[in-house]
Point group: C2
Chain length 199, copies 2
């Protein structure tokens, strides 16, 4: 039974179905047919919204990335490092709950220039957020900026590696990331106190 939806709603429905399917299985194993079937539409109509599987995958990743970025918005009422820990937890939990979706969003999808640039934009937003959080706790300089940008790469790799080889607990992963950030931005002395606050 097919239902007529507005363009916008249909698009949102397809993205939600994609997110659901890609989150639990490697995206290579999910066919466009399956997505269309789940939406109760023809493949032809799906291709009307997204010209290729690759374009569809890119749109799903983009949508999910934007949601995670929203969900990890820091609360300015929190202490600086607590803001950062809260954001980190959003990503760790997402990766733990939906490992395939997380891998898809972070490993390069073949020839995905658009994906990479959207990802780069989100990294910039996260970097600026973290710098804003840190600004109230430490003085920022060129080194802090390099440290935070590099730490985001650390976290991305750490979470991906952990998803593939979950040899440590979620808490250990979080502590690893946070003590690394503290060292990188020169907050060593406060690390212990902040860890307690953050838990």
């Amino acid at each position: 039974m097919r239902t007529r939806l507005t363009t916008e709603r249909r698009r949102a429905q397809l993205l939600a179905i994609g997110a659901e399917l890609f989150a639990r299985r490697p995206y290579g194993q999910v066919s466009i047919d399956e997505v269309a079937q789940a939406a109760g539409i023809s493949c032809g109509l799906l291709y009307h919204y997204f010209p290729s599987k690759q374009a569809f995958v890119a749109a799903v990743v983009e949508e999910e990335g934007a949601k995670l970025l929203g969900a990890s918005t820091p609360d300015p009422a929190d202490a600086p490092l607590r803001q950062i820990v809260a954001g980190l937890d959003v990503y760790i939990k997402q990766a733990e709950s939906f490992p395939d979706g997380y891998r898809m969003a972070h490993y390069a999808v073949p020839t995905s220039g658009d994906l990479n640039s959207a990802h780069q934009t989100r990294i910039t937003v996260q970097r600026d957020r973290i710098l804003a959080s840190l600004a109230t706790a430490t003085s920022l300089d060129g080194e802090t900026e390099i440290a935070v940008t590099s730490w985001l790469a650390f976290v991305e790799t750490a979470i991906l590696d952990w998803v593939d080889n979950p040899t440590i607990s979620r808490e250990q992963l979080r502590d690893l990331c946070i003590r690394t950030l503290c060292a990188a931005v020169g907050l060593e002395a406060d690390a212990r106190a902040i860890k307690t606050v953050a838990r």
Copy 2:
């Protein structure tokens, strides 16, 4: 004046010319014509060795990556962290001397599946080297492995960011990377002592 070279020598000559040209200018600005001209051969002959510019770029990056990996081979006679610092210095100096070549080797070249997998292989070699260096100084576990893999991503991003925005000195960059590693693998207490040794 054209010289006849053996296949192997011609290939090596072309890769050396590519490394030289790409190291000093963005690779988008270096044409295959220019490479052929510098080698004193026709474009046709160059395409006989490398079917496309992309294949040529991939081969140059691969060759340079292998050289850097060789140049950064740790000396087992050195103290553990000194081994790691020495390897790090090889990459930092290379990036400082040949920023465009470094960018080319580390930013994704469009649709470069081969490049990415060669890069991934080198990362694994570096990770195993660092774990071997650390094994004599600390006990290794799953967390150390995640920490080292993630730290390599930290360093890669730090050097790239620094090449684009050299707001800190080479020594500051190195200290940033090393103190971050110490925190990540739980060598905080020794960090100060090791820093002095490493200099």
